[in-house]
Every structure is written in C-alpha cells, then in structure tokens.
C-alpha cells in the first residue's frame, strides 16, 4: 500500500527545486526579502530556455519572413512556421491553417468580433457571455452593439462563482449568434465545464468561442475533444513572450471570414484595381509578424511539454488545496469564488483592510500578488466588493511560498489592525 502511494506520488511529483533554477527572475530579493511571485494569472515568468531562444534568434537567424530568397529569411520563416506546427500539436488542432498568430487573447476576440460576427450581423442578434468574463470578452461585443446593434446577454453566476447552466439553457435561442465563454475565470479561478455548454450550443447550431487565457497554462487543452469553434490564448501567461497570442479557429469558418487588417504578408497580389488575399492563416496576419514571439512561445510549449501538462495540473491543484486551507484559517479572510473545480487562483478579502493596502504591505515583504478588479468589474459588482486581493500560482511556486504569503497577511493585520 505504501509502495503504491509512493509510486503514484513519484509519477506526479515535480522536482520544483530544479524547475525553479530554470527561472532566473525568481532568484532575487524584493525590498530585502526573497521574491515570492504569486501573480501568475496576470503574467507568468519565463524559463531560461525561452529567453535564450529569443536571443539566439536575434543573434543568428533574424530576417523578415515569407519573402527573402536569402538564407536568414529562410531560417526565420522555418522557425516561425515551425512554431505554428508546435502550437497546432500542443492544442491538437487539425491543421496549421487553423493557428492564427495575434498579439494576445484580446486581439483574438476582437478579430472574431469584427471578422466573423460583424459581416451579416442583423440588429437584435444576440451574443451570449457569462458574468465571469474578463473585460476582453465583454468590450469587443459591446463595440458590436454600437456598430451593428448586437444584443449582449449574460448568463448569471452564483455565490460560489459557478456559471448557471440552467439559465444558459433558457438564454440560448434562435437569435444567438455566438456563445463566448471563459474556460477559466481570471478573477475567481472557476473552471467552467465548457464541454456541456458546447454540447447544448451545438444542438442550437450556435458557434462557440472560448477565452482560454487562464486555462491553457494550467491544464491540457485539446481542440478535437472540446469541439469549440474558436479558442483564444496569450503567450505571456504560459511562459512565453508578451505581445504574442493565438487565435485557433475551425478552418471552414476562417475560410469564410474576410481579413481583419490589410497590409503586407496577408496578400497574394496587389494592384490598384484588385487585391487577392493570401491563404490561411496568413490572410489574418497583416504586416511583419512577431517572429521572435512565435519562436519564444513554441519554446515555452516545449518546456511545458517536457514537464507534462497533466503533472503541472496535478501539482498546481495540490498548491491550491494547501493555499485554500491555510488562507481559510486566517480570521477575517474571505475567499471569493469557491467553485469545486478551480485553477490555482485564490481571490480574497480581509475584513477592514482594503486590497490595495494588502498589496502594498505584501510587497514590502517580497510577496507579489494582484489587487484590484482584475479586469472583471462585473464580477466585483456581483459580489458587491470594489476589489479583491488575488494570489495565483504556477508550477514553480512552493508550499513554503504559500507560508510566506500567510505570514505576510498576518503582518498586514498587525500593521493596520
């Protein structure tokens, strides 16, 4: 029995000390204390391999892509398109044509709003989102409201931060043009059981977009298993560079969509009379792309895959359980968002102490967390709070760091008590 337990543990346990050595930024003091970085939902840190891949690219291989006959241009093109294949494999898309490089999740959502939904949109058509959404999955649809009279319908959440499935079934209807859902809530950590939402959407013939920014760094994501039509995510939350992201779209839908920006690289031929657009996915990639960003993201994926997404998810879940247990024991601390299925995010308030003060005091203890509305003001409004403090963990965090967070919170209470 003991041997079996040990065997299971060693299959999932991570060598976190070794992993931490791969992340140079973690080894510093902030305000005289060793850094505890618990703001991973805002942006993760990068392993040496990603930083080095970007440097190596600029030191040896950089030129513009898709146009030069010379060697460097060929190398840059190979690396850029090779990155696309790495991403396709990572999310199990059918074809690299379905992988569009963008600046981040926000741009991916805007692309779908303007290029997929806007053409042919009838005033009064509806877009269905949930009350958990990040502003990036609210505002682009509100812009459509101004532009073409879209009606935004919002699936409510309950006190635990769970999206109300029964209400969803009532809200989806013949005028619903898109269901756009967070896969994981950034403010609360709720993992939304998107599979059952997608199943119902399909019965209604409604396409589905998932905001995967908070899901993809922490759990295996498979486009074939999910069956969604669009999936949006950002590189910088999954160990890659900033200013880089991916829109996955089903090929049949992307083919029908007009380009969203015009310029170089997205065309086959241009005359003043007529322009022929390029094929997928370059049709959506106007201008010189973020080549180093794509290479950095692919290297980040290599790193994640080397550890294994299943093991990352399992380890982070242990951290979440530990953090939840330790934080719950603090008097006056209230965890906001208590869904049974959560990513490693703990949002909380402390009686009588504003989150902003918590953030400042924790920083002087070397502990970095996010405080504020987390770009999800409707979520704050629902809980009738102006802001929360949010600790969000990655697989390079440790139990000792959670202990440091707890000690820093006890200190906060002393300072402002």
């Amino acid at each position: 029995m003991n041997a079996a337990v040990t065997a299971t543990r060693s299959a999932t346990a991570l060598d976190v000390a070794a992993i931490r050595r791969d992340f140079p930024i973690l080894h510093q003091t902030v305000n005289g204390k060793p850094l505890v970085y618990l703001d991973n939902a805002a942006s993760s840190q990068r392993p040496k391999s990603v930083i080095e891949a970007i440097s190596r690219y600029y030191e040896h291989d950089h030129a513009n892509v898709h146009r030069g006959v010379h060697t460097l241009s060929q190398r840059a093109t190979d690396a850029y398109e090779g990155a696309r294949e790495t991403i396709r494999r990572f999310i199990n898309a059918r074809d690299t044509k379905e992988i569009v490089f963008v600046r981040g999740t926000t741009e991916a959502v805007n692309l779908v709003a303007q290029s997929f939904l806007r053409p042919g949109f009838q005033p009064g058509d509806e877009i269905l989102i949930s009350a958990l959404e990040h502003h990036a999955n609210i505002v682009p649809w509100q812009m459509l409201r101004e532009q073409v009279g879209a009606v935004l319908k919002v699936i409510p959440i309950n006190e635990q931060g769970i999206v109300d499935f029964d209400e969803f079934e009532k809200l989806i209807g013949p005028r619903t043009r898109l269901l756009a859902l967070a896969h994981v809530s950034n403010a609360l950590g709720t993992i939304v059981p998107v599979e059952k939402f997608i199943k119902v959407a399909k019965q209604h013939g409604v396409p589905v977009l998932l905001d995967g920014a908070q899901a993809i760094p922490h759990t295996p994501v498979d486009m074939q298993a999910l069956g969604c039509d669009f999936y949006c995510f950002s590189s910088h939350k999954m160990l890659g560079p900033t200013g880089m992201g991916v829109l996955y779209g089903k090929q049949a839908l992307l083919e029908k969509m007009p380009p969203w920006q015009g310029g170089g690289d997205m065309i086959l031929s241009v005359s003043f009379e007529k322009t022929t657009f390029n094929q997928l996915p370059w049709k959506f990639e106007a201008g010189t792309p973020h080549i180093a960003g794509a290479i950095g993201l692919a290297t980040a994926i290599d790193y994640l895959e080397k550890i294994g997404m299943e093991r990352i998810a399992a380890y982070e879940h242990e951290l979440l359980d530990y953090a939840t247990e330790r934080l719950s024991a603090l008097p006056g601390l209230h965890i906001v968002g208590t869904a049974p299925e959560k990513a490693a995010v703990v949002s909380f308030t402390l009686d009588g102490i504003h989150p902003h003060d918590i953030g400042t005091i924790l920083d002087t203890e070397g502990v970095a967390i996010r405080t504020g509305h987390h770009c999800a003001m409707p979520v704050m409004d629902f809980f009738k709070i102006p802001a929360t403090a949010r600790a969000s963990m990655a697989f390079y965090n440790t139990r000792e760091e959670i202990d440091r967070l707890v000690a820093a919170l006890e200190h906060t209470r002393k300072v402002l008590g």
């Binding site: 102490i353 504003h354 989150p355 902003h356 003060d357 509305h373 704050m380 102006p386 300072v415």
Partner: protein, 148 residues
C-alpha cells in the same frame, strides 16, 4: 522603503476612525471621486459662507491611504477660505510627489503624516483623490473626478 513611513499611526487611526464621515445634508456643493482601478470611491460635501468653507464631510470606501487622507482633509480645510484651500492643496500635492518639496511642515499640521506616500508612487493617486474631489466640488464641477 519603510512601511511605517506609509502607515503612520495618524494614518492608521484616521482610517479606522474617519473624522467628519457621512453625508452633509443639505450641502452647498459636492463632488464624486472615483478611481475605478483601485475601486476607491468617495463623495466630498462642503458648505460655504462667502469665501469660507464652513463645514465639510465625506463618505465612501477606499484603501487606508485614501480614507485617512480624506479624513485629514476635512479637519484641515474647515474654516479656511477657498484660496487658502487651494494653497493647501498645492502644498499637499508637493508633499506627495516631490522629494525636495519646500513645504513648511508646520503649515501642514497632521497632513504632514502623508509625506511617506511619496516613497510609494503607486499610492499617490489614493492620497490625492479627495483633494481633487474637493477642488471639483468648490469649482462646482459636474463630472466625477479621478486620479488614475
């Protein structure tokens, strides 16, 4: 950067027990201040007699710095003329933002407790929100104020 510079006893006390807290009804002038990123939200009310601020109150929610700053403000401006309030605002602003501010601490009284804020640039907006809001009230501005 010493935390005790920011959260001085005066600040902690005024946060826990804000003075002149509540609605002034009726009020000659009032204005709203809102820093949506932090979630700080307050309303400053004032009554005027000629050029003098005869009474001032505030209500709202915010971090310790914004609540304490508003509480200190109400104590500091009561009885002052409009132009004295504006001068004081300029001095407080200098205190919050400039290291070599040539502000006479004796002129500021308890407000001098806010001097630690300048070591925490992200918190200047918290301390200054109430002052901008009072200013807007005195100018009878209709739009809410923000310092973000």
């Amino acid at each position: 950067m010493d935390l005790k510079d920011l959260y001085r006893d005066v600040i902690v006390d005024h946060n826990r027990h804000p003075r002149n807290f509540g609605k002034l009804d009726p009020a000659d002038v009032h204005a709203d201040g809102h820093n949506p990123l932090c979630g700080d939200r307050l309303t400053v009310y004032a009554n005027l007699k000629g050029e003098h601020v005869t009474d001032v109150k505030f209500e709202g929610t915010g971090c310790a710095i914004s609540v304490a700053s508003a509480s200190l403000l109400t104590e500091a401006v009561k009885g002052k003329t409009r132009s004295e309030v504006k001068e004081l605002f300029a001095d407080v602003h200098a205190l919050l933002t400039q290291h070599d501010a040539a502000v006479d601490p004796s002129k500021l009284g308890k407000l001098a407790a806010l001097s630690g804020v300048r070591e925490f640039p992200a918190r200047v907006k918290c301390a200054s929100l109430c002052w901008h809001t009072l200013n807007a009230a005195l100018d009878r501005a209709a739009e809410p104020v923000t310092t973000e």
